[in-house]
């Protein structure tokens, strides 16, 4: 995420595209969960949380529920990462589990980019310490490939074939002031998470 993208970064998704993609994913969730009655959305900080909130708003709209009714939270996975000892200790983000918990619910994890799959592995471990969901599904805005673990997404905004030299940067209004997905070239050679 923090690898600098060069000036030649190319926009692959713009704000209207992201809006359409999220609407489509919301419809897919309703379709597969047969009404999304027991769905809990958990975003992975930072940008996954904003995507989860946007998805929740759309799900409420589609299923005719009032705003704020659908449980949405955040799940920080820092303490569960497998690369903690490769870097200095990092600041933690907020974990916010909805009041009714996740036991017996359908948890949909939401993240911005699916890459190695290690973040999701950590998220699954974190979920195990919080409760026992009926099932866990994964929604991502961009799947850029290069999986290092047997993990796949249930809902994908856009499949983006990339090379390892490229970087994918998701920008969202809540954090970056604009909505877009940028594809750039990595300047450093360090193996970055995303």
């Amino acid at each position: 995420m923090d690898a600098r993208t060069s000036d030649a970064a190319r926009s692959v998704l713009e704000a209207p595209d992201i809006a359409r993609v999220l609407t489509r994913i919301a419809h897919e969730i309703v379709e597969r969960a047969k009404g999304a009655d027991d769905v809990v959305l958990l975003g992975i900080p930072t940008r996954g949380v904003f995507l989860a909130r946007r998805l929740a708003a759309r799900l409420e709209e589609i299923t005719g529920r009032s705003a704020g009714e659908l449980p949405v939270g955040s799940l920080d996975i820092t303490m569960y990462r497998d690369d903690l000892r490769l870097r200095p200790a990092r600041a933690l983000a907020r974990t916010d589990i909805p009041d009714d918990g996740i036991d017996g619910r359908l948890v949909v994890l939401v993240d911005d980019v699916l890459f190695s799959g290690r973040t999701i592995r950590a998220a699954l471990d974190a979920l195990g310490d919080i409760g026992r969901p009926r099932a866990v599904q994964l929604a991502v805005l961009v799947d850029r490939g290069h999986r290092e673990l047997p993990i796949r997404a249930d809902y994908v905004g856009k499949n983006l074939p990339t090379s390892l030299r490229e970087t994918v940067k998701v920008q969202l209004t809540e954090e970056d002031g604009r909505d877009s997905v940028l594809l750039g070239l990595r300047e450093t050679t360090s193996a970055d998470g995303k």
Binding site: Y80, P88, A91, D129, I130
Partner: protein, 326 residues
């Protein structure tokens, strides 16, 4: 953050706020069914206690265990120390057992510093109270409690304590808690006032970043937090004040004094309390007294410190050590 935590004065404002923010997130773990994180699996934390303690030792033990570290408790009583083993030999023994962190409480000021700088051990050293010098994790948990209680926003994440007026009352001379708090609170932007009988004000206090007063009534009315220190009877051989009754009357916190504190102000005590001495039972049991909350916050703060010291790698430190060995 540095590799050791010896003194609250070593922490920058950003370090301190990072520790408080990390503790804020870790405090939420207490509401979960499984109060455990896998972060320090396979790391060994040694609690090396040369002085009696319940609160601090249990707190460090709980913190390390919640982060899945292996904990070895060592107390001087019933160990080779009572046979005359030196600090150096004890340290070398711990190093041979592969301690990643040593939490040390010692009756001599400077023992943790010696342990950290002597090269006897490679792990991180955390000061859990040394003589009359410092007790940095106590200061951190006090600051954490203040920020949670006094902050305007949601538990004050990212904020410091700028503009807050904190009064520390009692036996400042013997108090490592007071010393650490003065450094940390001033780093965090708070205005600290020490109130004590002149005989219990330490030599050289002019150079500390705080004010000194001998009149408790003059300052309680404008304090956001009043921290009462324990009168350390075990160090009171030299008769620092005439009678306990006189001390309680002039420097103790009773209901009448508490009533003159601002509406939002809190009463703090690091424990163990001498009820009837520095604090009356009525004040100690009131909602405004945070003594029990401070103990709960202590676990979160110590988890944050252990995580930030041991959770990641520290290439700069490793590199420096390799050079030394060459």
């Amino acid at each position: 953050m540095k590799r050791h935590l010896i003194s609250a004065a070593d922490l920058s404002r950003d370090d301190a706020v990072l520790i408080l923010d990390t503790a804020e997130e870790l405090a939420r773990l207490a509401d979960r069914p499984i109060k455990k994180l896998p972060t320090l699996r396979g790391r060994t934390v040694v609690n090396l206690f040369f002085e009696d303690s319940t609160r601090t030792r249990i707190s460090f033990e709980a913190a390390a265990k919640r982060l899945s570290a292996d904990v070895i408790n060592f107390s001087a009583k019933g160990s080779s120390v009572s046979k005359g083993e030196s600090l150096k030999d004890t340290a070398l023994t711990l190093e041979a057992m592969g301690a990643d962190a040593v939490v040390i409480r010692h009756h001599s000021s400077g023992a943790p510093h010696r342990l950290a700088t002597s090269g006897w051990i490679n792990g991180s050293v955390v000061n859990a109270g040394d003589g009359t010098h410092e007790h940095p994790t106590q200061a951190l948990l006090d600051a954490f409690t203040m920020r949670r209680r006094l902050a305007s926003g949601a538990s004050g994440v990212g904020q410091d304590l700028s503009g807050r007026r904190i009064t520390i009352v009692g036996d400042v001379l013997h108090s490592r808690v007071a010393r650490s708090n003065v450094h940390l609170l001033s780093t965090l932007g708070a205005d600290v006032t020490l109130v004590a009988p002149p005989t219990l004000v330490p030599f050289g206090v002019e150079s500390w970043p705080c004010d000194v007063s001998y009149d408790l009534d003059a300052v309680v009315g404008k304090s956001d937090a009043v921290m009462m220190l324990r009168v350390q009877r075990e160090r009171m051989n030299a008769a620092f004040f005439p009678t306990e009754r006189e001390y309680a009357r002039r420097y103790g916190l009773n209901a009448e004094r508490m009533a003159r504190m601002p509406e939002h102000a809190i009463v703090m005590h690091p424990g163990p309390m001498n009820r009837g001495m520095e604090i009356t039972a009525e004040v100690a049991d009131s909602d405004r007294c945070t003594a029990v909350e401070q103990v709960a916050n202590g676990v979160s703060i110590r988890m944050a410190v252990l995580y930030l010291l041991l959770g990641g790698n520290e290439p700069a430190v490793t590199a420096a050590r390799t050079e030394e060995n060459q």
